[in-house]
Symmetry: C2
Subunit: 443 residues, 2 copies
Amino acid sequence: MENKNISILGAGLVGALASIYFAKRGFKVDVFEKRPDFRITNSYGGRSINLALSDRGWLALEQVGIAENIKKISIPMYGRMVHYQDGQTQLQKYGLEGQAIYSVSRGLLNTELITLADSNDLVKFHFNEKCEHIDLHTNELSFVNSTTNRNSTINPDLVLGADGAFSVLRSAMQKTDRFDYHQWYLPHGYKELTIPAKNGEYQLEPNALHIWPRGQFMLIALPNLDGSFTCTLFLPYEGTVSFANLHSTENIIQFFKDNFLDAFELMPQLLEEFEHNPVSSLVNISCYPWVHNRAFLIGDAAHSIVPFYGQGMNAGFEDCRILNDMMDNYNSWEDILENFQKSRKPNADAIAELARRNFVEMSELVANKRFQLRKKIEGRMNTLYPDQWIPLYTMVTFSPHISYSQALHKGLKEDAIMEKILNIPGIEENWQEMDFKEYLDNK
Amino acid sequence: MENKNISILGAGLVGALASIYFAKRGFKVDVFEKRPDFRITNSYGGRSINLALSDRGWLALEQVGIAENIKKISIPMYGRMVHYQDGQTQLQKYGLEGQAIYSVSRGLLNTELITLADSNDLVKFHFNEKCEHIDLHTNELSFVNSTTNRNSTINPDLVLGADGAFSVLRSAMQKTDRFDYHQWYLPHGYKELTIPAKNGEYQLEPNALHIWPRGQFMLIALPNLDGSFTCTLFLPYEGTVSFANLHSTENIIQFFKDNFLDAFELMPQLLEEFEHNPVSSLVNISCYPWVHNRAFLIGDAAHSIVPFYGQGMNAGFEDCRILNDMMDNYNSWEDILENFQKSRKPNADAIAELARRNFVEMSELVANKRFQLRKKIEGRMNTLYPDQWIPLYTMVTFSPHISYSQALHKGLKEDAIMEKILNIPGIEENWQEMDFKEYLDNK
């Protein structure tokens, strides 16, 4: 590894974490970000669905010794709080005692990562720098500064595209021969809303991820540090029940009263926010290869996924950790990058598929009796046979040493077995006495 | 239809034909092409697989009265001539007596279409004009002339992107929200080679499309007017038998002797051509929507397909005819364009799928006894029940009033029926006496 300087495009979550990883290895790192410095503006012009940090993310943070810093701005959520149409609620635990996913604000997290990275002399951030051109043969990058209008070029040894779903580096790669590329949108959009704090207090259980599952659409809410919740309404763009059909004050109020009455009563700014906040789209992006000479993609630039498994950021952080492993294991950049993309691509594809499927789980199945029974039986099996039966959600969320593609593969086998178990006559009454041993052997 | 001026990007086959269609309706048409005028340079810098014009293409040409002009530069091919490894050949007819597909040189055809279009005062061609920017809100187009370096802008009522697989208009659309886009490459590449004329004479049967089917790869040859054949070798990029492994003179000669001995003996320039001609990639492109305000895509810009059904150009020409029908049937551009894309998209998807599948038919099945028997039985059924049984190849190639998606749909049903018929004990001997009536009723 002769190369000791790298330019990272994008100071988002993954770009900032990658800069810390490279600096730890002694690289000189330049990070170029087209937006202003988040630390100064205090406004965050990006996607802002509240994030859920889980074990893959934590492991990647731990490896560079910054997990504790992030824990301070995170709120553990031990389960889903399902809100039924009749106002009843039900807590469904995510895992074993103490296992949690962590709610964190994208803006706060990003600011913290940049501050941590910037404390290293080897890392330099360049804000307001829009990348205008990339020469993939020479690794020459051209920028224009949006405040000074000044042009600059740089010629680093390595270029890392951590510049998100609309990556400039990926656009350049797309014009090269034999680059496979796919972007496609869900029929659903999303809109952010707020449940504010009341006298500084949370108005819902803070240590849970709240879901109002309504089949073709849903509302979710994640806690913030200040006692508020950030809510996200996922709804089709078009059709009978859709954003297109929520066009009047009466419509909106009626829709919320009918479907989310308990939340509606906690949302005094609903109408203002509904009018003011945009409907954002949900995109899948997949591509290959991720590497072109000495330029390569990471995080959302390489694999943008829908948010329904809470794994987009975690997958990007895991990219950083795996890339670091590759630098431990191989000596030349050819080998490091080739093994990185070969190893990560199937996992990126697997979590993309899992995330798409999980929309159905979140918006529909969590309210389904059979599904709830399945979860209970799986919990029992996991307790009885902790090494032989790990539920899919646990593999994805709490088992960072099981890869996403292994998790998907094992999850499909589990589905088949659980189908059989759920069809056992009397299973509803008897599951707590059964040991399911014969079903394990089929694995 | 208040708008009477249109700018077409691309003077390729579809752009040139579209200009004729629009001029016939009284539009003022400007066609912008980044390459030099093909009529002057006499060199043609585009994809050059020899093309096969079939009934969909002819119908689109007839509707603007230019089919006869094109027939003069086309050579009918009544069937496939299969060349077996042992040197034997076998002619497999494409359809009924007189039904043919027509070999035509892309360069000659394009030149003829431009000449025909240019004879209309309403059409103006602008060569060497590279489109640098498209504003999808205002329909403002910016060009730079590659010979004069002069910049120009134009602001037409309508913009038609007929600018092929690497469409500039589609690139602009790709940056708009909720634009679905997919480009993916086959593992195969292709290389063009030549079987020259001998004393001005064809060295193979001229009225056939020659195929050397070898499973994972194949060679094909289409006749030219001058007595030569343009050959195309389709071969994987990587692997045991691949372009990557044909790296020495000995390799190449041995490969051709082993697999295409009869052709090899007719190719005196093989080694020079093999070295000089590039390996080109094979891309699928699909996207949606095709329309953004008053700008829209057509032909390869909207749907690039692989060449194995000989339908890429025919589908693009059919786009022109269907668009013209929509202008007959609707009055506003909103309705015309919306109905155009809604109607064409499923057909573009269907021919893309059919084309991918046909690689297996061309490179493998045509040499397969069971497949040949199937073709014979289908021929008999088509003769007995011409309205009830139309073989898939005939629907796609000779039945322009059956849409591609109908053809695909009916073809799948036919597959299921033929599976049953081919499993009838003794079918090999008895098929000529059978009437297969009971199988028809299953349709």
